[in-house]
């Protein structure tokens, strides 16, 4: 028996059986395939099934019938997998195998197609080429490190995906940071990598579980130099003449009249209660940094980089991650982020070199992860050994290439710049 399934539009996932004989599709209540859409004619098309052959006939419908994007002038024999478009509805034809009904509800059969247009994918390729040229011209060497590693970055809110092989646990990398720093310890001096990174539970307008990251390190760079290189890169990739720099403290003081460095958690919570926005329902487990993050994403970030790229720098020491603390002001870390059109595009550090300090931070982060009921991450790593051996003074930056492509190509969602988002992977 042949089958038709609605793959897109009203009643998506609806399956129709086509036994031997003639079947009418239309708005007419008596049509076997009854579609209640005004753009569908009363008797729109017919399906004649005889043995293994199925012929579709357009019954002189007002709005026509398309098979694989070509109009059916009179009739046409269907072959397995053909897509039929009627008004806003997309149907798929199956000659014999019955598509799994349960699957059909969740797995859209037209999902073999790219969500990014061919034009966008070509433009993305051009951007990638341009980006590589920027790095080669600046004297960087391109490197490739394992995406599957026994080490992983220890972060409270980054959820790496474990992979069990034989008796050993590996991790899909949330960024190539650890391995790239090991290369610096091994003697490389200016390196960049364009690779995929994986972060579990991240899906949305600006997130896909697997995404493309551009990460680079250069030994000897000061924070100023690293921010300048990032700003220049954003200017040349996105066509701006200048970029701004703004300290984390100044941003909070100007926009929210809050000093993020001196305010206590209690004062911060009170300030938040006076602001008009939807705070999380459950406040348990939220600390000062979570509240600062909340204010940053809600009130500050949307205003950053509207005129030109903006680098926010000197993040609070409590949000240092893998950045070193500022030698002249230990309340802040030499961490910076790039924002364009309110979108977070890159994160950079003047890198922490002290192995024992990193180990302390890992232990603290793991304790927080335990509070959150999240699995512990290995606090020991090849990176720690590399740092003990000697990591040269350096700066490093990670930039989300998909978001860069969104901005460069004026797309509003990550799905428009990558071919197969995770639900089509």
């Amino acid at each position: 028996m042949a089958y038709l399934i609605i793959t897109n539009g009203l009643d998506q996932g609806q399956l129709y059986e086509l036994p031997e004989g003639k079947h009418i599709l239309g708005r007419d209540e008596n049509a076997e395939i009854h579609i209640d859409l005004s753009a569908v004619s009363r008797k729109h098309a017919s399906f004649e099934v005889s043995g293994t052959r199925t012929v579709i006939r357009d019954l002189e419908s007002s709005n026509g019938t398309l098979v694989n994007d070509s109009p059916v002038s009179d009739s046409l024999e269907l072959i397995d997998g053909d897509t039929i478009q009627i008004a806003d509805l997309v149907l798929q034809f199956f000659a014999s195998a019955k598509p799994h009904e349960a699957d059909a509800k969740t797995k859209n059969l037209s999902h073999f197609q790219s969500t990014a247009s061919v034009e966008t994918l070509k433009a993305r390729s051009d951007l990638m080429k341009q980006l590589r040229t920027c790095f080669y011209d600046a004297g960087f060497h391109e490197v490739e490190t394992p995406m599957l590693s026994a080490d992983t970055v220890v972060d409270r809110y980054l959820h790496p995906i474990p992979v069990h092989l034989a008796s050993q646990k590996y991790w899909l990398q949330t960024s190539p940071e650890f391995a790239m720093k090991r290369l610096l310890s091994s003697g490389m001096d200016a390196i960049f990598q364009i690779c995929h990174a994986f972060r579990d539970e991240e899906a949305g307008q600006f997130h896909n579980l697997e995404f493309t990251m551009v990460e680079w390190y250069r030994i000897g760079d000061s924070t100023e130099q690293a921010m300048d290189f990032l700003g220049q890169l954003a200017m040349s990739m996105l066509g701006y003449e200048e970029f701004d720099k703004l300290s984390y403290q100044t941003a909070f003081q100007t926009i929210l009249q809050i000093d993020p460095l001196s305010i206590t958690e209690q004062e911060l919570v009170e300030a938040i209660a006076s602001l008009d926005f939807e705070t999380p329902v459950d406040w348990r487990g939220l600390g000062k940094d979570d509240w600062l993050d909340l204010l940053l994403t809600e009130f500050i970030q949307p205003r950053l980089g509207l005129e030109r790229p903006c680098i926010l720098y000197n993040y609070p020491a409590s949000q240092s991650a893998l950045a070193r603390l500022h030698p002249e002001d230990e309340r802040v870390a030499e961490r910076f982020e790039l924002f364009v059109q309110g979108i977070e595009l890159a994160n950079g550090y003047h890198e922490l070199l002290d192995a024992s300090e990193l180990q302390k931070r890992n232990l603290k982060t793991n304790a927080l992860r335990q509070l959150d009921d999240r699995p512990q991450l290995p606090s020991d790593s090849y990176l720690l050994s590399a740092m003990r051996h000697g990591l040269p003074d350096c700066c490093g930056v990670a930039l989300g290439f998909d978001r860069l492509a969104m901005l460069a190509l004026d797309k509003s969602s990550i799905d428009q710049v990558i071919p197969f988002p995770f639900d089509r992977a």
Binding site: L158, E201, Q205, E278, P280, L296, T297, E337
Partner: protein, 190 residues
């Protein structure tokens, strides 16, 4: 009862909040690179239709609501109570005038409707998008009044008043859009 973790949050999810069923109609994922994930949700109350904005952080969860959509038939009305029958298992449901809302205007005995059940009890009833109703009473239109922009109220068999073009007469069958309450067309009786 089953629950959904933030990781399962998506449009179309049916959840229970403060002992009421909600449909997740919008879900936006927001996450600063190093910060906690936020799930900004819009949820529609399945009983009252009101919309709620709620933000959840990564790791939070919501109870799943036992909500089911069924086809049913309107049986009859007895004063303020409306009786329906499930087309699949022939279970009967009683709905109050308040639960039926404005849709009483379109309910004819035997009419196929759509119902939403929560924990096995109906919470909303939706009639078909278009229903055909017989005009029981109306003032006669002035002679020659064939223009459609001249309207008048008519009383249909269910007792409801519908605004129709002036040419509609008693005994006519009219098609009404139940979503808007508007007259659509006069139906020719075969």
């Amino acid at each position: 009862m089953a629950s959904y973790k933030t990781n399962d949050f998506r449009k179309g999810l049916r959840v229970e909040i403060d002992n009421e069923p909600y449909l997740m109609i919008e879900m936006n994922f927001v996450k600063p690179g190093k910060g906690n994930a936020l799930y900004k949700c819009k949820l529609r109350n399945l009983i009252r239709g009101t919309v709620l904005d709620r933000t959840y952080k990564g790791g939070d969860s919501l109870e799943a609501a036992d909500v089911e959509e069924i086809d049913c038939q309107f049986l009859y009305r007895q004063t303020d109570t409306f009786y329906f029958m499930n087309n699949t298992d022939y279970d009967q449901y009683e709905l109050s005038e308040e639960q039926v809302g404005d849709f009483w205007k379109y309910l004819k005995e035997g009419m196929k409707c759509h119902a939403v059940l929560w924990n096995g009890n109906p919470i909303t009833i939706t009639p078909p998008n278009h229903v055909e109703l017989t005009v029981e009473f109306c003032e006669p239109g002035a002679k020659g009044d064939t223009a459609t922009n001249v309207t008048k109220p008519v009383k249909v068999e269910t007792g409801a008043e519908i605004i129709c073009p002036a040419f509609i007469e008693m005994g006519n069958v009219i098609k009404v859009d139940t979503r808007t309450g508007d007259y659509v067309e006069r139906v020719n009786i075969k």
